[in-house]
């Protein structure tokens, strides 16, 4: 079974958020980047598990510049068989989805996995767009997936419960917590990753006309006030007079 896993690059969860160019662009200077955790911990690892029990190949794909290669190498170190980078700026979800769909059409995958969202822009868009472009079913927020002979049973987390779905491959799925458990690449995997193919392909035309006007940061939260645990009167006074919640 051949699985395509879409992986993207996001700033580290501890990275500072600031913008450049009239607040139109995230400032990448001095930031550390990681593979989007939903892609890495759940989508990629579940794909690896399915490959391990059913055979086949796991391909990872990213749309972005050469500075994204370390993310792909990490995916290869975790165990993916090959990596594809579509050499273009990932301007918006439709552009990215069009690139992934174009690659997938040419290469025929049984399954396409992505994360439920990226932890930077939280768009949750690419997976559904890829499915639409390929005319395939799409399942979002999958927290469990079992597969036998071309049929999958997928659990979706919904408000207050779980929805259980059954469908045949091929389809597109976005991975949520629970689908798999994080795998940390080991040193042998890292060494092997160097010998696996990382192919760079050109982008296809896919304009969406979308552009970012600006980003805004939320208002400052203000500083924390420490109150002596024995001074309940002071706590009550602050809640009443300053926070005005009692």
């Amino acid at each position: 079974m051949n699985i395509l896993v879409c992986v993207s690059k996001t700033p580290d969860t501890t990275a500072k958020v600031d913008f450049i160019g009239d607040a139109k662009k995230y400032n990448e200077e001095g930031k550390q980047f990681i593979m989007n955790p939903y892609d890495e911990w759940y989508a990629l690892v579940r794909a690896m598990e399915l490959k391990e029990s059913n055979g086949g190949e796991v391909t990872i794909i990213n749309v972005g510049p050469a500075s994204n290669d370390p993310i792909l190498r990490k995916g290869l170190a975790i165990g993916a068989d090959k990596a594809i980078r579509v050499d273009a700026e990932d301007t918006d979800a439709f552009f990215v989805a069009s690139q992934i769909a174009a690659y997938a059409v040419d290469n025929g995958f049984d399954l396409i996995f992505c994360g439920k969202e990226t932890i930077d822009y939280n768009g949750s868009l690419v997976g559904s767009m890829v499915a639409e472009l390929l005319n395939q079913p799409f399942i979002s927020y999958a927290s469990k997936m079992e597969y036998t002979d071309g049929t999958a049973i997928v659990n979706r987390d919904i408000e207050g419960g779980i929805e259980v779905l059954k469908l045949k491959t091929p389809f597109v799925l976005s991975a949520a917590k629970g689908l798999a458990e994080q795998r940390i690449p080991n040193m042998r995997g890292i060494m092997m990753a160097k010998r696996k193919p990382l192919d760079v392909i050109p982008a296809v035309d896919a304009g969406s006309g979308l552009s970012i006007e600006k980003f805004e940061l939320p208002a400052d939260k203000g500083s924390v006030k420490m109150v002596d645990p024995n001074d309940m009167d002071e706590l009550v006074r602050l809640l009443h007079e300053e926070a005005k919640i009692i």
Binding site: I34, P70, M187
Partner: protein
């Protein structure tokens, strides 16, 4: 008390030394850091508190490939370069010096001599199992009466047909109470130092634990006692003289030079964060000049030590590093790490003495690191010997 804390560590690379590293180094560093955050940080204070070794971590260390990462892949090892090995040690010691010790003994003091001085049979028999953590090893050089002066060792072997009879006692042996095998150094009948692989379940071998350590509390240390142990001659390593154990120590000391920077980084990182959060006299304490002096000196020393390590690693990769160069880095980096731990402890005020923060644990650990693998003063004498040509040991 502390098991639910999250590890907020962030790396500090003031001189952008990452640009001198390759993709593998960065991947290895991230992998080990993730592992430490997941497996070590949540439990380390508790194990240190109880003075208990988290032996379940041997398996995890093996899985990430921390045992013998720079030995060849055909023996189940990583096949990485020396910088990668150093980086792994740095990240492990960022978690705890005891956890790093578990890995450096296994990799540099057990697997390395078997690889370097063992027969092909030894390598095939032991290395894959040591790499996978199925076997745990220890290294017996130090004796109760011979620490800095291993040349005086009295542990000895006597010829007895197809075996040697081993007698003696080793002291301060990391991992010995939990080990399956030991690489042991003893004197033969003509007085030459010989190395051998001893299996811990052989008759006459025992390894009582040393209790009461205030340092490296999460690492288990013991003695090795040999009473008329029959060591088949097939278990002897092919090396004679002190250069055998000393070459292993060079490997381990190299890893310690990197490891110490990990401990220093953790102390600095915690102190920096605390100095920005802790308010006194209506200001974050990081705004006071005396706190800034401490922090500025810490990051300066860390940066120098990082550069030292990178250069040492490059020399090691090119096969050009000398034992004296390793001594300089081990001595310097452990000393600055200990100083940084002490200054960081001060910045944390009273909180600094508790296990809410990692600093005091690192400080206590580093007292061992300052002493083992050649004491601070012995490494100074090695540098002194190297630059003057005059031996001040005796």
């Amino acid at each position: 008390m502390s098991s639910s804390k999250t590890d907020k560590f962030q790396y500090h690379d003031y001189y952008v030394i990452d640009e001198l590293l390759d993709e593998n180094h960065l991947l290895a560093r991230q992998a080990v850091r993730d592992w430490v955050k997941q497996e070590v940080s949540p439990i380390i204070e508790e194990y240190s508190d109880k003075a208990e070794c988290p032996t379940h971590l041997f398996k995890g260390l093996a899985e990430i490939g921390a045992f013998g990462p720079s030995l060849p892949e055909k023996y189940g090892c990583g096949g990485m370069d020396e910088i990668a090995y150093g980086i792994i040690m740095q990240e492990l010691e960022r978690g705890d010096s005891g956890i790093r010790s578990m890995a450096s003994v296994q990799g540099s003091l057990v697997m390395y001599p078997i690889y370097k001085f063992g027969t092909e049979e030894h390598r095939k028999k032991y290395l894959p199992k040591l790499a996978s953590g199925e076997l745990i090893g220890c290294f017996g050089l130090t004796e109760p009466d011979f620490g800095s002066n291993p040349a005086g060792m009295i542990t000895n072997i006597k010829d007895d047909g197809d075996a040697y009879i081993l007698n003696g006692a080793k002291m301060w042996i990391t991992n010995s109470p939990v080990a399956d095998i030991a690489v042991v150094w003893g004197r033969d009948e003509v007085g030459k130092v010989r190395g051998m692989i001893v299996e811990m379940d052989w008759p006459g071998v025992s390894a009582p634990e040393i209790k009461g350590k205030w340092s490296l509390r999460a690492s288990v240390t013991g003695e090795l006692v040999f009473e008329d142990v029959r060591v088949p001659k097939t278990h002897m390593l092919e090396v004679r003289g002190l250069k055998g154990p000393l070459s292993c120590l060079s490997k381990a000391r190299y890893g310690i030079a990197w490891g110490a920077v990990g401990a220093a980084l953790d102390c600095y990182d915690s102190a920096l964060r605390y100095s920005l959060e802790r308010i006194q006299f209506d200001k974050p304490i990081g705004q006071f000049q005396l706190t800034q002096k401490k922090l500025a000196e810490m990051i300066t020393e860390i940066t120098k030590a990082q550069l030292l390590n990178w250069r040492l690693g490059t020399l090691a990769n090119n096969g050009k590093v000398t034992p004296a160069q390793i001594s300089m880095a081990k001595r310097n980096n452990v000393a600055i790490a200990l100083d940084i731990a002490r200054e960081a402890r001060q910045i944390h005020g009273g909180m600094g003495i508790t296990n809410e923060y990692p600093v005091m644990r690192h400080m206590m650990n580093l007292e061992t690191v300052l002493t083992y693998e050649g004491t601070h003063d012995i490494h100074l004498l090695i540098t002194g010997h190297d630059v003057t040509g005059l031996n001040a040991f005796k």
